[in-house]
Subunit: 456 residues, 2 copies
Amino acid sequence: MAKVNVSLPQGTRDFPPDVVRKRNYILGCIRSVFEAYGFEPLETPAMENLSTLMGKYGEEGDKLIFKILNNGLGDPKNIDKSRTAFEQALQGRNEKDLTERALKYDLTIPFARFVAMNHTILTFPFKRYQVQPVWRADRPQRGRYREFYQCDADVVGSRSLLNEVELLFIYHTAFTNLGVRVEIKVNSRKILAALAETIGAEDRLTDMTVAIDKLDKIGMDKVAEELSGKGFAENQVNLVREFLSIHGDNQHKLNSLRELLGVSPIGAEGITELETLLHYPGVEKAAPVLDLTLARGLNYYTGAIFEVKALDVTMGSIGGGGRYDDLTGLFGVNDIPGVGISFGVDRIYDVMDELKLFPENLLSTSKILFFNLGETESRQAFQLLQQLRATGISGEIYPENVKFDKQFKYATKKNIPFIAIIGEKEMEEQVVTVKDLRTSTQSSISWNKLAAFNFD
Amino acid sequence: MAKVNVSLPQGTRDFPPDVVRKRNYILGCIRSVFEAYGFEPLETPAMENLSTLMGKYGEEGDKLIFKILNNGLGDPKNIDKSRTAFEQALQGRNEKDLTERALKYDLTIPFARFVAMNHTILTFPFKRYQVQPVWRADRPQRGRYREFYQCDADVVGSRSLLNEVELLFIYHTAFTNLGVRVEIKVNSRKILAALAETIGAEDRLTDMTVAIDKLDKIGMDKVAEELSGKGFAENQVNLVREFLSIHGDNQHKLNSLRELLGVSPIGAEGITELETLLHYPGVEKAAPVLDLTLARGLNYYTGAIFEVKALDVTMGSIGGGGRYDDLTGLFGVNDIPGVGISFGVDRIYDVMDELKLFPENLLSTSKILFFNLGETESRQAFQLLQQLRATGISGEIYPENVKFDKQFKYATKKNIPFIAIIGEKEMEEQVVTVKDLRTSTQSSISWNKLAAFNFD
């Protein structure tokens, strides 16, 4: 055959059947937990108005948004406007006459936009989950794609800590059902705010958190160095050292925190919230770990924050989330607090693939392949197959009467566990020969008894 | 609250929970039939290289493709190239330096691209189904959107008519399961080709078919007029009249066709194929109707063609498809014949909504809402709720201890059928008051017996 002169856009992927099935298995597991907790499905369009997205993800984020060219730019009545708009766009301005729409960059801003547009008709608290692709013009590399799925659940319109409790249980249940052993880390932005306040650096929360966030990678001395380099005084650095030296079980950490930051009202609040969350009835099953270095982004979260790490493979976080005070304020609707979590579907896929955690029965759609051994035989085979399908057994008939070998190869390549043969002899005896390819056992079954056969 | 200064792009839609659930019900029904027939799921990216899409949908189609602006156009090292590329693009040329990628316009070309790229490793016949959104920059109007779902199943790599038979059964089974009464129309492009040949107008197949296609709307005399206007001779027009006057049941039509077009080899082939298809064992259940005016697009199909109309509402076709000889030839890989069908998901949704065919239990995710009547009470309620969730019952607890009324309203607005109340009295007696909101019946149930309660 001729050379194929076609390719996929860089950083995008086709998902062949085995991958779709595995990914759907993950999404199905997560979705059923979301639904058990009363979350409802929402879908938003792939494209948003450019103005909805720009300025929401920081300067770097803005550059990674895929913009869609307006249609009809070359139309004689538009051409002057188009040229002007293009020149403006080259200077980094957003130009409606060139590009009005863009592909969504995450599921959070479109959700905020949806809530802002519909807040008068929604029933609060509004609990939605959303599983859709998003697009980023990032440099593609191993594990980083330009199109990938996000899987989020959020509750908006409620300040109750019970929402955090439920999200913690959702993480625990979903990963347990998937068979992925995880550590769920918990912290509160209020603790970090209290630390900044206590050392007299409320206005430098970001600098402080960025440094703390690196503890895992660079160690305590380098964190101290970085803080000094940024102009933090020795006594400030020492207090941060003390904070980061808090070790032990969750209760011990909370006690130490209370000593160190309990005088700060926001600190006391954060500690009490974490205490409630970490001691909620049944929560010991999820075994959340209070991790004081956990910071998660910087300007977004305002209360409890979460992060999930897989225990048995080296991999970045496979989930994260937290509480935010005012998501829809960006769109002129205030006072709608929220809390949400996200599952990193691509990474969960990689973890499960590496640990071979996918069930074997995902391999094939069909349970049985009927061979095609001629016109009369295949008509009979087809009738039996239709009976099986009507009872919920998926199956196929090879469409052409070709060599036995070729049909056999088709069954093995597609991981179809059973083959069914109706040849001349079987026609005479009104039976079908059924072979289990996994065990190579074979039986002869009357036509009228096939529907009762066990295809497991 | 403040005025919301945000909107959705024209022609796109948010899908709120009730709509997602209804649409997923349709897609789930269709998907399970596809899988019963051994079709496997495939997903391709939202974006394709622009060169993959352009020139595949005709001149009008090309104009409706959403193109994605390259990132980094304004980068000093790109700026000259960008300007040149923009000027070229204004003249209607495809310019890689301005736009390399575009959103997919349908699922067929991306599927062909996938098969062409992977033909050496795929197992043929390859049976895939695909359910994904596509995008068209069409003028939005009632029932026409710029983003909408397509739902296709195709078999490539097999010329056997058994594939057509199976696709016919798939239509029948899927619509039966959805409860939508339909008429499945069948024809063959070979019949139309034979007619053109017989009247000596092989080279004017398109003109002829376009006219014939209008019979339903404009009537026989106007069709004849249109043909004359296009230069068809009187005897040619008369033969078309004769062809279109063929009426009766399928067998009668086939007999008449054999008289009229049977001498043409392609006509004889088409008639024999239709005869096999329309008389295949069991096919009478699907009650396909041979419709000689059915043409479906013009340059694409080469054999049997299908179209599905809903019987109980006025609505364009809700499904269509047919056989094509050489889909991947566009991408330099020849000799891969195929046949496929498509379900019009948006229209099926509208039909089912109008006829009220959606099951009632799609209305709500949660079966039960536990009221929140205080800290101690809600902790107890939460524990019971967790037990229910573990047995597969979806449910919620109202996160805040607010007025009874507000919690009640939440349950009714979300169509949650049961509410559960644990107040002071229930705490003492270790019971929960469960009320079925549909019947207003109420019972008091011991905590340890709640999991055995029937929530249907």
